[in-house]
Symmetry: C2
Subunit: 252 residues, 2 copies
């Protein structure tokens, strides 16, 4: 339930978006990461109509709410965060990198009952970003850590990256359990076969070492051989060994 | 220099991409996050030509290398990671969430000299993703933690999110220094003015409290008033106080 609330509390606010593909992409990223509340402020009307009527337009886009001003779009939110590519104007606002700002937003969204509040994450137009007027409605600004050579991100990609930061789980562990490895007994059976094969092939005679057997054993133990592959390896080595010993026989 | 190396060691490999916009978006995200080496495998030729010749096509795209097979595109890499939306087929490979997989890739890219190796991050086509044949060239698979309701991400957005994870800095702190707050002396001057204004307005007479002065003081100290705003607050309160005391005078 907490997770539901959290996703329900975030409003993605797109200001003056011009390209229907970007509206669609932003909605798709929201859907990918489980966010549902899209608000558009003063969008280019053709773009908004086109995006909404596009084949495969998401529920997110269909349910998008339209506002005339940023003030109206964020009126019910307790935290308003603007996004910026930085550097193109003197910022009068506190500026946070996404890693740090994302943490603060997650905190706000995760608060229990009374403390919890709606958060608006505001994105400007493709060409101009957010204006100083737009910024004045924000508590602070967020900045994706881009390379200095190219700070301007595509709108849909910027939305995707920000939302990913909000859902990413620092404690995430592997979804798959650690691969089960073969037992010592299984490896020993494989070792035997490999050593026999090395012997039968003449390898050990041509490259004799004092510690031949141990060497083969170490070689195999360094592989971290998966348990599921033991049968396959045994089969392969048995077949090779058989052929080494019966070179003239037709394949069995 | 270490950073340079790190960005230089990653190859983004796009397999059988069909949409020129996605090729462009992937290249743009690479440029945003400082990665330069794009490889395309068997792209839809029209898309590749269109994307490369598009106005504003990035250097990344212009320098993209074309390969006929995944095997050739990853041949010089020591770690090959495939991306998948999961769930649409039985995976025979270890699968890691982006948070965890990203950590392993960063580790590989950050290794010094002998240990460092090129890493291929492989993305499949928009419609089908990577095939089992493609997967067989990968050491393990990466999965962006999407919502179960919509696991299929746009290609350009998936590339952007993965690359962000590689550059994100868990230790990133605020770019701006903590906002300097007003000194006790400054706050006391503001307190005086506010108390006088409260008095002049009749507020304190109508709502008398035993600890009037202390209460105002606490009120102001809870604000965390920024140093830069002290002059403005003093000016505002002085003006209000003056008007309260000279209601009939024309504005000064």
């Amino acid at each position: 339930m907490a997770a539901q609330t959290r996703f329900d509390l975030l409003r993605v606010v797109l200001v003056a978006t011009r390209n229907p593909l970007n509206l669609g992409a932003a909605a798709r990223a929201m859907s990918n990461f489980g966010f549902v509340r899209l608000r558009v402020v003063n969008p280019y009307q053709v773009a908004f109509r086109e995006a909404r009527s596009a084949i495969g337009a998401s529920e997110v886009l269909k349910n998008a709410e339209e506002y005339g001003t940023v003030a109206e779009a964020v009126a019910d939110c307790t935290l308003v965060v603007g996004t910026t590519a930085v550097g193109h104007r003197e910022l009068q606002h506190p500026l946070r990198r996404l890693e740090d700002g994302g943490r603060l937003i997650r905190k706000q969204l995760g608060r229990k009952q009374a403390g919890a509040g709606r958060v608006a994450l505001v994105f400007g137009s493709e060409k101009f970003g957010l204006s100083n007027e737009d910024f004045s409605h924000c508590h602070w600004l967020l900045h994706i850590p881009t390379s200095e050579e190219n700070i301007s991100m595509n709108l849909g990609q910027a939305v995707a990256v920000c939302l990913y930061e909000l859902v990413r789980d620092a404690k995430a562990v592997r979804l798959t359990e650690k691969q089960a490895v073969a037992t010592a007994g299984e490896i020993e059976r494989i070792t035997d076969l490999l050593r026999d094969a090395m012997c039968a092939s003449g390898y050990l005679k041509r490259r004799p070492t004092r510690d031949g057997e141990e060497r083969v054993r170490r070689l195999l133990r360094r592989l971290g051989l998966p348990a599921r592959d033991v049968r396959a390896w045994l089969g392969i080595l048995r077949q090779i060994l058989w052929k080494l010993r019966h070179p003239e026989s037709p394949a069995r």
